[in-house]
Symmetry: D3
């Protein structure tokens, strides 16, 4: 069996019980044939797998959400690029491409990500006080 990461992942054919149920829901919800590596590794603790998946499903596939799927994936890429997470950058770039985002638009998104990593460092590097805010009711 192929090893992935620091613990051996749970292959789809050997999944039973709660793990098999979550795997089936992942394939159905995302419309994919293969369960991605993240979930195979989380399956080494089935309760945690269920916890993370059900939360991600609620956050990314809500009924009547106020954000578009593209907005959600752009945020996901922004977080992942800022944290420098290789797995997540690959995953969310692929998701954005699937949503029809072309390479130039991806460049615009990463330009924004890059820009605010600069201003964050500058605002913190000078310890700049927030401007007075209008009440945000």
């Amino acid at each position: 069996m192929t090893r992935v990461a620091t613990v051996p992942p749970v292959a789809e054919e050997s999944a039973t019980g709660l793990v098999a149920e979550v795997y089936a829901d992942i394939r159905r919800t995302k419309g994919i044939d293969r369960v991605p590596n993240l979930w195979r590794v989380l399956a080494t603790n089935p309760a945690h797998l269920e916890l993370v998946w059900s939360r991600l499903k609620a956050v990314m596939h809500p009924e009547g959400g106020r954000l578009t799927p593209r907005e959600r994936e752009l945020i996901a890429l922004a977080v992942s690029a800022t944290n420098g997470c290789a797995y997540c950058v690959n995953s969310h770039t692929a998701a954005l491409r699937k949503l029809g985002v072309d390479v130039e638009t991806l460049g615009e998104a990463l330009a924004v990500v890059g820009m605010f990593n600069t201003t964050n460092a500058l605002a913190d590097g000078y310890q700049i006080e927030p401007d007075i805010l209008p009440p945000l009711e």
Copy 2:
């Protein structure tokens, strides 16, 4: 004079030359009356002020951009929340409110930010290998 941050900011009434020009462009481009603290502090090095402002203007107010202003500000908030930058969180939350984003939608956006800070830590914490990507041409 009021002190801001680790260096004394340049007040609008004492700005001259390049600093005065940039301040005027900031007010005009953003449609605001008061130059925010970030730019007043950057003005202590006028060349740097011009460099950051012209870049931010190009990234956030491009002609014919492929992302919406709301998408840009959502990315900015995602980066700032992930980095924990107080100045920038306040600034981009205010910008989103100005664009008509209500408090519940803000909650959805931060739910996505929070979610992927978890999955980033999990993917890195288990050192999970990226799934095979389709060519992203």
Copy 3:
């Protein structure tokens, strides 16, 4: 000679003086046969090698410590997963396994790491003020 990282590491057989002494102390203290890559690379600056090793030894192998070895390694993994450091995640996961932590317990630990990377992003993303603390005398 095999290259490791951005500088050539110091092999055990070519170590002399301070480097050889530190290498011996690492093998003895950790009960291992091979000096890990981190120390081989730090050995390119012997004074720095000694400084980091003696500090790590004091922090991780103290006499009369108030934390258990497992607590120390759990903290080490939490920091490394949050920072996304591949070398350190691998190293501290191996150390936890050696201490008898099984894969399901590791899943619980990373569940906690993941959870608080979310609440950190939310607390910072909303700029939430600390609750009033009881005096921590």
Copy 4:
């Protein structure tokens, strides 16, 4: 009403429906009289409040958990100190004190946090390759 953070929090006396239920569960589970600021702010999006609280409850107060409450809070503090989150550092330090952790033990824990923020930076700063791992089955 006092403002907290970038959005107005939901006071306990004005909570209804799902928010009131979650608030009651927080007080009961944590054995406290006052709902902390984090939850009051998350309540501006009730579905998100419920999602984060139910996950945090499962992660921090599981039945038959393999980690001790002290181990969980040490991990929480390690993550929060590494991310520099003021709200969370205050909250988890208070939780550790409540669990009987004295100031010297807290110092040991933060010594470990500090140590591995150094080694993470060194391992990444030299791009050190992971040592060969024993299979972690």
Copy 5:
């Protein structure tokens, strides 16, 4: 064609217009024969390529700058090691070596980087208040 990263880079021989101009300026300014991978990937959005390159050129190769080239590269390495960015650590280590920084001096620089990643975590982990500063006029 070889794939680099999540998007296909623009090879030097197929570059035209703005991309070809920027590539030529990179080779000339840096005195190198081959355009590094970063710029080949940014070239997938030519306007972004030009924006980042012109800013980096102004920041790293200014006329009459007050910092030495070595100081600039030391800062670049410090940021990159702290963020754990593999590409950038490799790039700035090579630049420092080109400037004559030997392996022992590199060790001193990373010792400083490592040290302050500790004190940052400690200052944040205890929420230590800044000392009163003398006015920094």
Copy 6:
């Protein structure tokens, strides 16, 4: 007694034994009259105080160091701004001012910090492979 941070600091007049010795060495080495807050808080665990101070002294005040004091403080500021640590940014900005760094030069330094927080995010956001390095012997 004034409270600082999450634990009560050790005032200079109540310091005894190891803490008093370290306090005296801090005042002597840095040529200052007042022990900064960081050390007063670390003094709540005397062994940890001694460990951090002796390492910081070795790293920042070495005999025959290859980096200048200004280079060391620039690296310290770069790390602190990137991590967004308020205490440390204030402290290292004051140290740079004491070394004669004026406000414009500080602007140049933070321009470099800001720039590479962008390129780090871009290199990670596109998962760009390192260029082939010349051997760094």
